[in-house]
Subunit: 345 residues, 2 copies
């Protein structure tokens, strides 16, 4: 068995050039998508160190793994408790499997683990990433950008950094919220409350904005903050009844929140929809059909969102320009929503 | 930027030697755990091809990824529908996170995708694998063995091949089943039926064996086959009532199956436990507490099983002999079960 003296590694080049391993990889393999100034720095480091990219390393960085990472920016307990994620994963799984790509779900206990997720993404184990349920102050988007992994986001990312090349799939959260509140107003309701989602997520902010679009002079006491969970919906509904006993309608940020609100309304002897009309968001089945009464809600096609995320990513990888659409313009997609009428409003 | 002529790759050596990439890796990095005859073949191929393991390739094969794959040999729809998997994953996730290892969940649509999972495992993306819910004719164990990835199984694997070095964590399924059936007999029941789990899984076979240990001369019509799902439990209970209307007790292979059986008993006007006593297996919460009446069941600590699987794997990786215990003997663990009495028996 033969062996040689240690040779400079990709890591050493990255350290010398002050760039990520992924950036070195891309330069060594053609330099696509790397700024000229960085390409120059990497080339200088390569020459200074006498780095020789070899076949194994090249295949390591150029070969397709036919594997796509999925990152849900929530603790694994939440991923398994909220059917939203199962539905989105179902769409993703179907699409990836149809293209013989492996779905690699990276689970965490919480935000403290996101640096480790970033390291895995940067480690060359997947061809791209699908990321959803981002929260505003999450370090994940930056870690992903540094990892240099082609990514499609589920839901419009809310961070304020450089958004060039960011591709996402979202629902028309603001338009859907407007439809819900208009429907409640059309029923003659005047004290229409809103229970928000987690306001560090753009979907919650957009739904609140849609509510405000219609309720331009809304009594601020009619807005109660929650977090997309049934327990959050219960707490917020109690607050609302406490502050505004005359509330006659509620638009809840999602169906799980609405189910919690319905429970509190029933406990406190309010009839739905006679005393208080309620509308949710998602049309999550069987939840929305099994509430008492069955829930009027804003439907978004969650499984289709997952499928579309996967399709956009795979198409981008095939074209070699994973984060940009035809002609270099980002190809994000915003899907329409529809109001589904059941008994609650 | 410099570059060299193509050099022989690890793959070329593997092809020449007629062994897997993983075997070449292990030989090149010390040869531990590879049969002498294979070591010789690899060394010959290395010399003939002039293969030079380089730093990058070495780090590729020796470096710890601090990532562990989890493979559930079920379609992703089942993974998200059956709380058993969420619980086992919870235990795994807690343990891996405590050791700063990334949980990499490989989801599939079904058995046709297991070859792809094998490829991912062989691709050097993880340090080890945790595999559960194996079915008898599943190609996965062989694919994993070929991939050369240290593995701990959840549940005793049932395949008939070489089992040396196989490490698993299981519950005492047979002993737990015996406890359940003895309890029913102790209540004076004489027509005790069993609804089985999926009989291509060892857990189901072991529970059936435990039933037979106690009911040595059982009427074969008292055994109905199901598949660990509520719908399967309903079907099997209808069969049983049809064949043996005098059945006075049922031991179901798990709590979900028992919940289906309870529904059918209620529909057909049987009182539980007065007319028919029912016992499940798992003590899956909240299922077991929310059935009508609450379910007497055999408790296994599913989350602890997951935690233990992860712990055994990580310990093995630290020792460098991931599949063997101290002194070379396999260190599989079988956890005890306990009967939890509620209202149904």
């Amino acid at each position: 068995m033969t062996d040689t003296a240690p040779r400079p590694t990709l890591e050493a080049v990255a350290a010398r050039a002050g760039v990520s391993r992924a950036t070195v990889s891309r330069v060594v393999n053609g330099g696509d998508g790397v700024r000229d100034i960085l390409v120059e720095r990497v080339r200088k480091a390569v020459e200074e160190l006498g780095y020789v990219p070899n076949q194994a390393a090249r295949s390591l960085v150029t070969r397709r793994h036919d594997a796509i990472a999925v990152v849900v920016a929530e603790p694994e307990t939440r991923v398994f408790a909220d059917p939203f994620f199962a539905l989105q994963l179902r769409g993703i799984s179907k699409e990836l499997t149809a293209h013989d790509n492996q779905l690699v779900l990276l689970l965490t206990e919480g935000r403290d683990d996101h640096a480790r997720v970033g390291r895995y993404l940067a480690g060359g184990h997947v061809d791209g990433a699908l990321v959803f349920s981002l929260h505003l102050d999450d370090p994940l988007p930056e870690l992903i950008q540094r990892a240099g992994v082609p990514t499609v986001f589920g839901g419009r990312p809310g961070w304020s950094g450089d958004r060039r090349g960011v591709v996402y799939v979202d629902s028309d959260n603001r338009g859907g919220a407007r439809d819900a509140v208009r429907h409640l107003a059309g029923l003659g309701r005047t004290r229409i409350a809103h229970i928000t989602g987690a306001l560090d997520q753009t979907s919650a902010v957009d739904r609140l904005d849609g509510y405000r679009d219609v309720m331009v002079d809304a009594d601020p006491r009619l807005i109660a903050e929650a977090d997309f969970t049934p327990a959050g919906g219960e707490r917020a509904m109690r607050e609302l009844l406490d502050r505004c006993p005359d509330v006659d309608a509620v638009f809840a940020a999602n169906d799980l929140t609405a189910s919690g609100a319905l429970r509190v309304l029933r406990e406190t002897g309010r009839r739905v929809p006679d005393d208080v009309a309620v509308i949710g968001f998602d049309d999550m089945l069987p939840v929305a059909e099994q509430t008492d009464p069955p829930l009027t809600t804003v439907r978004q096609d969650i499984e289709e969102m997952g499928r579309l995320m996967a399709r956009l990513l795979l198409r981008g990888l095939d074209r070699g320009t994973p984060q940009e659409g035809v002609g270099g313009t980002p190809s994000s997609v915003v899907l329409p929503t529809t109001l589904v009428r059941r008994a609650s409003a």
